[in-house]
Amino acid sequence: MIATGQTLKSSEEIKGRSLWVDARRRLFHNRAALASMIILGLIAALAVLAPLLSPFAYDEVNYDLIACAPGWWPVEAACRAPGHLFGTDAVGRDLFVRVLFGARVSLAVGLVATFVSLVIGVLYGAVAGYLGGRIDGLMMRIVDVLYSLPFIFFVIILMVMFDRNFILLFVAIGAVEWLTMARIVRGQTLSIKQKEFIEAARAAGVGPLGIITRHVIPNVVGPVMVYVTLTVPGVILMESFLSFLGLGIQEPLTSWGVLISDGADQMETAPWMLLFPALFMAVTLFCFNFIGDGMRDALDPKDR
């Protein structure tokens, strides 16, 4: 046993510290996470500013420049489009502006759907796990029933009942993703519930809601963060799958998933059509992973 406790000097900062303040400080000290946040920020800014940055509109078709390589493309190409930074696609639209428009959709779906699933899943799971007994049984059976609904079927019904709608995409994906989150949080809550500090809080007179928000949720944050970082890429991929089936984003709007699947068809003749959207997506997913990792570390006060 090595006592590390006494190694701190009593002169150490006595400013107000809280879990979240400390976590932010530690997160900003994590270089990989900080770099990832900057890169993600840049991508997001590009996506927002896309129309200002490019002289072309995302749906502007040019039949003279079908599947042309960018002017700087180092390999021999059948045709070149010097004004287009990333080249053009199969109907002669500017790929650069399309990748950035795709970023809008993909990031929005990824973040919003994940956020929705995070909020519902964490609250639902923590309540079920903490209350336990019959309530837990009932709440988790509801989750089981929802799990057993075929996802695609569910989306098709939604699309038929309401019109094809951008918002519905969020709803559909979020409605599926929160189930797993709820299960993870419930499992964690069950083990945290056994800890002595929960009993101590009860003895201190803290009510169930206070215990869930002040003790349970901050302590499940580690595994939840890891899961969130896996969810964002999952959701982005799911959106592309739905779009591929014609249930998601409709032309001329686009997303990274759509661009990648289009690009994959032309991989041999026009590799840039696959390369650029794939590159953006890969970088984004990497960034999410690093940020998630950094958040997990930052939220653990034992970590330095």
């Binding site: 046993m1 090595i2 006592a3 590390t4 406790g5 006494q6 190694t7 701190l8 009593s10 002169s11 150490e12 900062e13 006595i14 400013k15 107000g16 510290r17 809280s18 879990l19 800890k195 002595e196 500090f197 009993e199 101590a200 809080a201 009860r202 003895a203 201190a204 007179g205 803290v206 009510g207 206070g210 002040r214 003790h215 901050p218 302590n219 939220l299 653990d300 006060p301 034992k302 330095r304």
Partner: protein, 596 residues
């Protein structure tokens, strides 16, 4: 002149950690002769375990050891893994604190012992099995043939530790290293294990290196003693020298911090009107036996009654599973009770509404056993301390809250500047002060200390006990002080209640109980208390209970001390008043207390 078995010369152990290098053992030298017992004593973090782990090449990956370790003249520090493996399995064996983690969970006990024999003694299987059975008999495991076929989790803690001793002894080693072998065990079981170790030393002439934080354990067994502090050996000598004429200040401090069984009980303070009355309290849990069988009922607390007065301390003593913690939680309304009454200031708590119970928390507080586990690892300690106030007096402003927390921290001996520290940044004793501050901040009238000092080093234990005593004297609060350790309880308690399997076996004033224990179980508990006094320990005749605590699920277990009534298994021994204020459960006189 006896031959030297093991000599350690100038051993240094260092660990590389992210916080820098830790020098765990500094220039330690010691000698163990054939057939003697060397006690190594020190508080947690003193490097006493690392010393022996390093000597036999068992350091963690980030540790380095330098110096010399001579086993019968051969330097084994840095010897090859093969050589060390042969040595460790047969000539030098080890017993660790936690027998459950030291046994492979998926292998039957017998297989594990037989494997050792076949590996190190090249014995044929049938012969090994025979030998294993003999060995289990030797360590006094009842029904040894059946035990060989059981898995480790089917055995109790004491039984597992006996299996470990059997495994450690079976190859006939010269030296057994016992690292806190009894720390995780109940006192009566501890006494049995120490008896076995003593027998090993006398019958088999095995040398024992006994590593412990407990001066009492060392006193009973060791011939010579080394005292370690912060990696250094600060004093060494024969047991008599160390215990009766300590030269080093630290040794003296350790000895004086030990609660002695004859500590003077606190002066009986002004005892006020009854605060808490508990009548025939019962708490039971269903124990599931699989899908299709009816669950059994575990009666954790089975009809306990007592009264607690203002300013009084009631000590509650018993071994693990006796229901002492369950009792405390039921009194505090943290667990639902199955029967009986809890009356607080004349008000039956059953009748009280939920909101009243919340308000009641201002009066009833608890301090838990494990100081680290009872604090939220993600909350700075100031927030933890403030928690009861925030919950019970939400009208307080932030500034007032902070002011109160600072004042309370200063009161329990914590630097108020540490208000934003996290629990893992503090030591065990400091964290327990945080726990105490959290309980005291709402100004309770009853404080339950559930094994509140059991996890602490003796010197810290003494400080915390003194602090609790001072807080009581200052505020006139009542205490329920729960512990498995009779000598700790004695320091604070005016009255002591002994629990056995959820029932009171004896309840008396502290002076009366320690001077004239009536019930055989109380006597066994008292005699199992180890005094830091080698001469007395050697001479002591013990009231040994054989075997382990019976299962609380067995209805006959209640009649362990009343065998004459065994024909009626539903019978419960009644409490009888034998002297004013001294209650004893019915029991058979002059019966050697043998457990079922």
């Amino acid at each position: 002149m006896m031959t030297v078995l093991l000599e350690i010369r100038n051993l240094d152990v260092r660990f590389d950690t992210p916080d820098g290098e830790i020098h765990a053992v500094k220039n330690a030298s010691l000698i163990i002769q054939e057939g003697e017992c060397l006690g190594v004593v020190g508080e947690s973090g003193s490097g006493k375990s690392q010393l022996f782990l390093a000597a036999f090449g068992l350091l963690a990956g980030n540790g380095r050891a330098t110096g010399q370790v001579l086993y019968r003249g051969e330097d084994i520090l840095g010897a090859s893994q093969t050589r060390l493996n042969t040595l460790r399995g047969s000539a030098v064996t080890m017993i660790f604190q936690d027998p459950l983690t030291s046994l492979t969970p998926h292998m039957r006990v017998g297989e594990q012992i037989i494997e050792t024999l076949m590996l190190h003694r090249k014995m044929p299987r049938a012969q090994a099995r025979e030998r294993a059975k003999e060995m289990l008999d030797y360590v006094r495991i009842p029904e040894s043939a059946r035990r060989l076929k059981q898995y480790p989790h089917e055995l109790s803690g004491g039984m597992r530790q006996r299996v470990m001793i059997a495994m450690a002894t079976i190859t006939g080693p010269d030296l057994i290293i016992a690292d806190e072998p009894t720390t995780a065990l109940d006192v009566t079981v501890q006494a049995q294990i120490l008896e076995i170790l003593r027998a090993l030393k006398t019958d088999k002439k095995t040398a024992i290196a006994l590593v412990s934080h407990d001066m009492g354990v060392i006193a009973g067994l060791a011939d010579r003693v080394q005292v370690m502090r912060a990696g250094e050996i600060v004093e060494s000598g024969t047991a008599d020298e160390i215990f009766y004429a300590p030269r080093n200040d630290y040794t003296r401090m350790l000895l004086s911090a030990i609660p002695k069984a004859d500590d003077t009980p606190p002066p009986a303070s002004k005892v006020g009107p009854p605060l808490l009355e508990v009548e025939d309290l019962k708490v039971s849990f269903p124990v599931s036996r699989g899908l299709f069988q009816k669950p059994l009922t575990l009666r954790a607390v089975d009809g306990v009654s007592f009264t607690l007065h203002q300013g009084e301390t009631l000590g509650v003593v018993g071994e693990s599973g006796c229901g002492k913690s369950t009792l405390a939680r039921a009194v505090l309304q943290l667990l639902p009770k199955t029967g009986g009454k809890v009356v607080w200031l004349g008000q039956d708590l059953d009748a009280a509404a939920r909101t009243d119970i919340r308000a009641l928390r201002e009066d009833l507080q608890i301090v838990f056993q494990d100081p680290l586990a009872s604090l939220d690892p993600r909350m700075p300690i100031g927030v933890s301390i403030a928690e009861p106030l925030r919950a019970l007096e939400p009208q307080l402003s932030r500034a007032a809250l902070k002011e109160k927390v600072r004042a309370m921290m200063a009161r329990v001996g914590l630097d108020p500047a540490w208000i934003n520290r996290y629990p893992h940044e503090l030591s065990g004793g400091q964290n327990q002060r945080v726990g105490l501050a959290r309980a005291m901040i709402v100004g309770p009238r009853l404080l339950v200390c559930d094994e509140a000092v059991s996890a602490l080093d003796v010197s810290i234990q003494a400080q915390i006990v003194a602090l609790i005593g001072a807080l009581q004297a200052e505020t006139g609060l009542s205490l329920i002080f729960i512990s498995h350790d009779l000598s700790v309880v004695r320091r604070l308690s005016h009255r002591v209640m002994v629990l056995y399997l959820g029932r009171v076996v004896e309840l008396a004033s502290s002076t009366e109980l320690y001077a004239h224990p009536r019930h055989p179980y109380t006597r066994a508990l008292l005699s199992a208390v180890l005094a830091p006094d080698p001469r007395a320990e050697r001479a002591k005749k013990r009231v040994l209970l054989t075997g382990d605590l019976p299962s609380p699920l067995d209805p006959r277990a209640q009649l362990t001390f009343l065998k004459s009534r065994l024909d009626d298994p539903g019978y419960r021994p009644k409490l009888e008043q034998v002297a004013p204020g001294h209650f004893v459960a019915e029991h058979d006189e002059f019966l050697t207390p043998v457990r079922i």
